[in-house]
Structure formats: C-alpha cells, structure tokens
C-alpha cells in the first residue's frame, strides 16, 4: 500500500475521532503538541492494527514512532507483509 494513502487514512481517523474540530494536522505535525495523549495514542494504534492488518510489536512501541503521522505510516509500511 502506498505511504501517502496510509498517511491520508491515519490523518482522517485522527481528525474525525480524536481531535477537536479547530485543530489542523499534517503528516509532520508533532501529535503530542496538538494534545494527543497516551490514551489517544493507544486508540490510534488500535485503529492501525485493525485497518492495516498489522500488529505493532513491543520494540516498535517507542515515542519516535508515534511522533507524527508520517512516523506512524512508516512503521505501518515496515510491518506490512509485502514490505521488502
């Protein structure tokens, strides 16, 4: 799956389910700085696992991988079965 599609889907999920209407994000926005807390991070991870059929292992659960939508999408790409 194309990284841009993954970015777009994660962004859409975060905007529709987690963030207040007035808050705008892009692929490089620092998610903590716009108010994403630990519970919301878990929500995002559960969405990713459900939507993209991947399971994020413990060693990938590090703050750098949740920092931005871009970082989350890169983690998804790495974990997808057809990643080479």
């Amino acid at each position: 799956m194309d990284t841009n599609i993954i970015i777009s889907e994660i962004k859409k999920y975060i905007e529709n389910n987690i963030l207040a209407e007035a808050v705008q994000v892009n692929a490089d926005t620092n998610l903590k700085q716009v108010g994403i807390d630990s519970f919301s991070t878990v929500e995002i991870i559960l969405f990713i696992e459900r939507r993209f059929g991947v399971s994020i292992p413990d060693e990938k659960l590090v703050p750098d991988n949740f920092k931005t939508i871009q970082a989350l999408a890169s983690t998804v790409v790495e974990l997808m079965p057809d990643a080479s």
Partner: protein, 437 residues
Amino acid sequence: MTPFTKSDLPEKVILSGADCFHLVLDKHAKKHGAGGNVMRKVFYFSNALSFEKTAGILKSSPVIYWLCNIKLVHGSLLKKPCWKYTDAGREIILRRHESANENEIPGDILIRDITIESERFIEADLVYYPSGSCAFVLSWNHILLDAKGTTLLFEHLNLISENKPHNFDIFFPAKEKHTGVITYIRNMYKVKKFVQTSSRPPVYSIADAGTINNDDRTLNKTIPFTVDETAIISDHAVKAGSRFGPTLYFIACCAHVIQSLNRQKNKPGDLWLPVPYDGRLKGSAGPLISNCVSFLFYRLTKDELNNVPQTVKCLSEQMKAQIKDRIPQKYTMFLNMMRHVPLWLYYFLVSRTGKGVFASFLYTSTGDNFNDLKSLFGEPLSKLTMTPALTFPPGLTFVFLKHDQALDINIAYSPEIINHNELLLIEQKLKEILLNC
C-alpha cells in the same frame, strides 16, 4: 483589564454526568463523616504579588464571577440538574495572610470547606512570607472544574493579566449531542456489566467499607523529585514497559505500595481502581466549566503484583481492551443517563456495586498540563503544588504533578486511615520503587 458584560453569562448550565457523580461522592463523604470535595492549587512566587492587582485580575474574570453567583438546582426524572446563574453581585473573596514559616500554608485555608450549599464555589488566598516571597492559593469545589478545566482557568487568568479579550465560547459546555435511546440502553447495559464484573468482591481497600471517619481533616504529604530524578523515573517507566507515557508505571508503583500495606494487614481481596480519563476532544480549548472525565477501571490480583514490569503489562492489557471496547465513552453515556435517577437511588446503586468499597485507593495525574506553566498573573512561578479532593473511603489519593520538568507526588490522606508509620512506609516505598526499579 478587559471588562465583561454580566448579562453575557449563561443563565443555566446543565450538569454533566461526571458532575452528577460528584454529587454522589458528596453524599458518600457526608455518610462517612468525611471532609469536602475541595481542590486546591498553590502557586509560589519569589517576589510578593500585589494584593490589589491580584484581586483586580480575579474580579475581572467572568468565569470566577459566574462561579460566585450560581446555585444548584437538583434534577428529577424529566429534568437534568443544572447550575442557575443568580447574578447576586457576589465577587470572589481574596484573603490576606502572613506566615512566619516559609512555604507553609496556614491551616485555616486547608480546612476551609466549599460545599454545594456554599454561596461561592471558588475562593482565593494570598500568603506572604518574611523573605518577601508569597503563595497564591485557589480553592474550588471539584464538582465544577476538572483537571483540564483548571489548566484552562489559569490560562484564562493569564490572558486577563495581559489585557487580552475573553473567549466566552470556551468557558461553558456546548449543547449535548443527542444519542438514540436504544444506543443509550445498550451501552448502559454493557458498561454496567463491565463495572460490576471489574469491581466484584473481594476488593481490598485502604479503608474498610462502612468505616466512619471521626477525624475529618485531610492531610497532605508532598514528595518532591529533582529534574534529574524525574528523568531517571521517566527512563524507568519506559524500561518497565510503560510505552505510552508514564501513567501506567505510576499506577503500578502506587499499587505495589498499597500491596505492601495490605501485606502487613493481611486482608483478602484484589486491588481495584478507577482512573480518570479526559473525555474532551484533544486540542480543544474548552469547556472550562464542568467535569468532562470518564474512567478506565483496573483490577489487579495478588499474582499480578510480583514485580512492577509485570503489573505494567497487566494494566496495559486492561487499558487496551477497554479503549478497544470504548468503555470510557460508554461510561460517560451511563453517567449522563444517571442524571435522571434520584440522588438517593443513584447512591444506592453505586455503593451497592462494590459493596461500599469505591476503590482500593485513588490515583490521578495532571500529565503535562502544568509542566510548561512558567508564570501566573504575569509573574514568574517558583513552584506549584496541588492538593486533591479526598474521597472517603478510601481516604487515600495519590496525585502526580509535573512542573518545570520536576515531578511532585502529593499524597492526600485521612489520618483516620493512614497513621504516621504507614505514611513513612508509603513515602519510603514509593521513592524506592520509582528511583530504583
């Protein structure tokens, strides 16, 4: 300072489900002879604040004016409880104190109660010390403001001191979205079943069910950590498996401390605790008034308390499962629905669930809400502490507060429940686990 028009304030604000739950807690506290539901924030300044200027800022706040001019109207089957704005012209009272002991907050401030029958729901005090430093204490009834609301209140006071305009839109809760009755009932059934299973007896509580408090004082013990120690603790949290921030690690540490007290008393039962969960959409600027919290519920058996990483793993699994099942959102719906139930029946249903045990102990954290708060009223802050409302029973609350990269743990306790030796054990054990584990 920007003036405000009193007629712009809302005549009626409906209580949220979480606000109504505070009415239940209030009833619970009265039944057990315990103190009130008062929260306090203490701000320390190296330079003395001007009494007149501080009073002027507080009196210029429309939110504070509203909090001094409302009364509770109880609900009924067809009517939700609400705050009615009375516009009685009452202004906030700012009291002046002097203390010979640096950083000490006079006892009469700490024991002053603000009840749901009080004329004003918020009060302020300024304490001056011989060194020229001072402390500003703001006290309010928890039924009106939660932790995030408090952060927003101080941001609002800072805006007033900078002569910036008020944004009324963020002060009060927006109109509730309508949810279909069937969805309500389905969710209520699911969440009721979940909470009943999660809190099933036997649950060990620091205070036995039915304990009557003969000493209604709330005592506080603050355990400060340096910036370096706080960095070590954050590192330990990650190593213990608390990968989404330190919260689960902090809860696990508190659970181990309580379990060591339990070992001394050798009472049966698992640990059970509800932990607040901010229900606002992230990044939202409001509402400031009203409790928007829901809860996550954790249950820990003796076998899950062998070591901290094991406990963190267990808490993490419970948290993920509850977030996946949208338990906090469903619990909010449940609380909202319970607004229609008469208070006596609501109290009966809540206290029956855990056979009178509300929690093994209570835990709350301000997260990063105050970490970057450098000044108040335009003056630089030297220190910030918080004393939580003490729900009794259990009569023991841990508050984790991070300010300026340094962690403070405030332990609020009832002397009826925790004696001096037990307090020393709690302090020693907490430090030992956080700094060495």
